[in-house]
């Protein structure tokens, strides 16, 4: 018996001529927490599907718990103790907690009749294994994301799991829930179960894993002990590029372009005052519910403040709506790119010019085709949006490029203030640094930028001043050069 639970070597897999995996290898030892990292499209998910028997590899060998397979079915994988927790958890939202937990067991036993007594017994046992306390009768759709994930994990453990694969398990979790999840992962490890933790978030990789494997473009680029890895190397392995992580300093003190004076919105924030200068990147952070999103949306005309005033270039203004905010030179990149930012099935062209249609049309609203073409071409080039036909739907682009399209929309409008809410959520590391570099160069050219983000390293790296909000007020204003993530976290939660 080897001390590996899983050993795959030289796995190749193509889809219709596209090589997703070009001969990758992965070894997971018994009882270890192994992290598989890599950017979107690097082949992580394909490998998981091969290991769980969903796809068949074109070439290569798989050894599971000491047994070699040339072909492996999902049933083989389950029988050998492989359990995958997918991003969507594959739970049935319309069924109760106990039904979700026991369903697979009942189906595998090919029972014809339902006994709730037995279901309850199976379910309580499953929950007890992890020491989780949930109402068995509750419908799963009423549970939080974190609790749904717990159910998926408990269900996986019912099958005598030896290797649990978690595909980006922290995507939809809050900080606290991530902590709880990590505690559970440690608990599983203590019982001798191996964990393959798939993620591209660097902090998590460092916190939880003992060894790591990084893929890029369907190939292994690095594997080793996590303790011997640093941030810079991690980013380099993931992207194949080097990035600097200096914080941004405006060259000179610009004029005040936007100011809030004692601004209040009932139920969101109260008596807020701050100034924003040309050329600076102001970071706003704080927990959900701290009022930060409402604050910027008020500046953008979505909400009307109950009291206080907003000044643009020293003059008091009333922002009546989004249109009037745009006229004053304020642009807003919303938090949820997919539902608030983009028109997914529409062309890249339309997505870029949508906010400028009035200025790109003449008499009777007739569109100026040439001007539109020139405008689009300019931004595609300037932001290096990866497309060779901007009349394609914007949904054909990757997350990073989609975000650039939203940025292009605003930059086309000659703004003086650009507000970004979570500018790099769901964007891979390479594009993330591109976007940070872009924000810096925009600020250097005199744009005033506000960045709202939960990603504290991002806030520290790309802003020149940080405003921490707590409970609808400004808790503190900090200089990113002389503060730490921990300090930011403490101020937001009010521990300090």
């Amino acid at each position: 018996m080897s001390d590996n639970i899983l050993k795959v070597e030289n796995i190749k897999k193509s889809f219709g001529g596209v090589e997703a995996l070009k001969g990758v290898s992965l070894e997971i030892r018994k009882g270890e927490i192994h992290c598989l990292a890599g950017e979107n499209g690097c082949g992580k998910s394909t490998l998981i599907k091969i290991v769980s028997g969903v796809y068949e590899a074109d070439e290569g060998s798989i050894e599971l718990d000491g047994k070699s397979f040339s072909r492996m079915s999902p049933m083989d994988a389950i029988a050998r103790g492989v359990q995958v927790i997918y991003q969507d958890f594959s739970v049935f939202p319309n069924l109760t907690v106990m039904e979700n937990l026991a369903l697979n067991m009942e189906l595998m036993a090919e029972r014809k009749l339902v006994s709730y007594k037995r279901i309850r017994a199976i379910a309580s046992e499953a929950l007890a294994k992890l020491g989780v306390d949930l109402d068995l009768e509750e419908r799963v759709e009423n549970l939080s994301v974190a609790n749904r994930q717990l159910i998926a994990i408990c269900r996986a453990l019912l099958h005598d799991a030896k290797l649990v694969i978690m595909d980006e398990p922290t995507t939809a979790l809050t900080k606290r829930e991530v902590k709880a999840l990590f505690a559970i992962i440690k608990r599983l490890q203590a019982e001798g179960i191996s964990i393959l933790f798939v993620s591209h978030k660097l902090d998590e990789v460092f916190e939880i894993s003992e060894r790591y494997t990084i893929f890029r473009n369907g190939q292994n680029v690095a594997t080793g002990e996590t303790s011997g890895l640093d941030r810079k190397a991690f980013v380099r392995y993931m992207t194949g590029r080097e990035f600097s992580e200096e914080s941004y300093r405006p060259a000179k003190q610009g004029e005040v372009v936007l100011a809030a004076k004692n601004l209040s919105l009932t139920g969101a924030f109260k008596d807020l005052s701050f100034e924003l200068r040309a050329g600076e990147i102001l970071g706003i952070t704080g927990l959900l519910g701290s009022g930060r999103t409402e604050l910027v949306q008020t500046l953008f005309g979505i909400y009307k403040p109950d009291s206080g005033e907003v000044q643009v270039r020293g003059k008091r203004v009333r922002i009546r709506g989004v249109k009037s905010a745009i006229r004053m030179g304020i642009g807003y990149v919303p938090a949820d790119r997919l539902t608030e930012g983009l028109f997914l099935p529409q062309s890249i062209v339309r997505n870029i010019v949508v906010s400028k249609l009035d200025r790109l049309s003449g008499l009777f609203g007739v569109l100026k085709g040439k001007a539109i073409g020139a405008e689009v071409e300019k931004w595609v080039r300037e932001l290096s949006i990866a497309t060779n036909d901007p009349s394609l739907p914007v949904q054909t682009l990757s997350g990073g490029n989609q975000q650039k399209v939203v940025l292009a929309r605003w930059l086309a409008n000659d703004l003086s203030v650009l507000i970004l809410n979570g500018p790099t959520v769901g964007v891979d590391i390479g594009s993330k640094y591109d976007i940070h570099a872009l924000l810096r160069s925009l600020a250097e050219r005199g744009l005033a930028i506000i960045v709202i983000s939960d990603d504290l390293p991002e806030v520290l790296a790309c802003t020149s001043r940080i405003l921490v909000m707590r409970g609808g007020g400004i808790a503190e204003v900090l200089d990113p050069a002389s503060t730490t993530e921990q300090r930011l976290g403490e101020i937001s939660t009010g521990v300090a």
Binding site: G16, G321, A325, F343, N388, D389
Partner: protein, 343 residues
């Protein structure tokens, strides 16, 4: 994408969906050839074309109105109610102001006023539906179901449910004018409507705004579009077009009644979907809708040539055609989308 040429294709403001129009054209040609082959002696007669050109403008114009509202992700079920109410208002005005047997020079100014009143009524009806949808946030399908009932109800109340006939002869004379003794005036009006609305969608900023709003209203709001204004305007256009259709119906029947053309609503929705308007909003072209109108007219005129095919079969055939087209669209577009996603 095998095409890796660096030269960027001239960006089109419209997302290409021309395959749908091509498919519809082929379908139209096929139906046309089928009818020709079955009854060449009747189908190819000029009188047959003339009668087709008389029949489709009234529901064709309403179908264009419904299509616009469907592109915004909405629906206008009140087109027929609006058409009848507008026509009844025009008819009431004519009956009150033009004495029987009045000479044309006395009737004509009143007819012009009556037409204007009807058009204003159409705009007002549309504005009301638009207000309910944009401002009160009532789902379009419910709001216009309500306004349809309301408009029809008002029409019944002011007429006691009786047809408004004995209109001045001049009105139906004008309405049934034929250019070169062949092309009916309603057909000319339909062409003008189709061209103007088609150009507005493809060449002016109204088009992209409508498409963007229909694709994602929330994103449209964050992009600074005036969603409420666009919606109200769209329902006003739909109401305006409905009142034109009402005036055409009034000329053809030489009367106005609260329940004319009751079957047109569903037929117009059929046409819009057949013509490639996405029921979820965001896509649709007037060219496609126009071809769909022609397909249904050719089918229905063709069926009329067979005395032994009962009218009862008509619904079966139309429903069948719609479902076939939907399935074809789904299969073909689904494939294209999957291939696109892979590339």
């Amino acid at each position: 994408m095998s095409d890796n040429s660096t030269a960027t294709a001239a960006p089109r403001i419209a997302v290409p969906r021309d395959r749908n129009i091509l498919r519809l054209s082929i379908f139209l040609a096929a139906v046309f050839l089928l009818m020709t082959a079955l009854r060449p002696s009747i189908f190819l007669m000029p009188s047959n074309f003339n009668s087709m050109m008389r029949q489709f403008p009234e529901y064709g114009i309403m179908a264009i109105g419904i299509s616009l509202t469907m592109i915004t992700g909405g629906m206008d079920l009140a087109v027929v109610g609006t058409a009848n109410l507008s026509a009844i208002i025009a008819a009431k005005f004519l009956l009150a102001e033009v004495p029987r047997g009045a000479p044309p020079e006395q009737a004509l100014p009143m007819i012009i006023v009556a037409v204007l009143l009807a058009l204003i009524c159409g705009l007002a009806c549309g504005a009301f539906s638009g207000f309910l949808i944009a401002r009160m946030r009532i789902p379009a399908i419910l709001a216009t179901l309500g306004t349809q009932q309301l408009f029809t109800g008002i029409a019944i109340v002011i007429t006691n449910g009786r047809p408004q006939s004995r209109l001045p002869l001049l009105y139906s004379q004008i309405g049934n004018t034929e250019l070169w003794d062949f092309i009916p005036l309603p057909f000319v009006i339909f062409c003008a409507v189709a061209i103007i609305i088609g150009l507005a969608l493809s060449k002016t900023r109204f088009g992209p705004k409508l498409y963007m709003l229909g694709t994602n209203a929330k994103a449209a709001r964050f992009a600074g579009l005036n969603n409420e204004g666009i919606l109200v305007r769209t329902y006003m256009i739909s109401g305006f077009l409905s009142s034109i259709a009402g005036l055409i119906m009034m000329a053809r029947a030489n009367s106005a009644k609260a329940d004319y053309g009751a079957s047109y609503t569903m037929q117009c929705i059929l046409i819009a979907v057949l013509g490639g308007v996405d029921p979820n909003g965001g896509f649709g072209k007037i060219g496609g809708v126009t071809i769909a109108i022609l397909i249904l007219q050719v089918l229905s005129s063709g069926l009329n040539m067979f005395e032994n095919v009962s009218n009862f079969y008509r619904d079966v055939i139309w429903g069948g055609v719609l479902i076939i087209v939907l399935v074809i669209n789904l299969v073909v577009d689904g494939k294209a989308r999957r291939n696109g996603a892979r590339a």
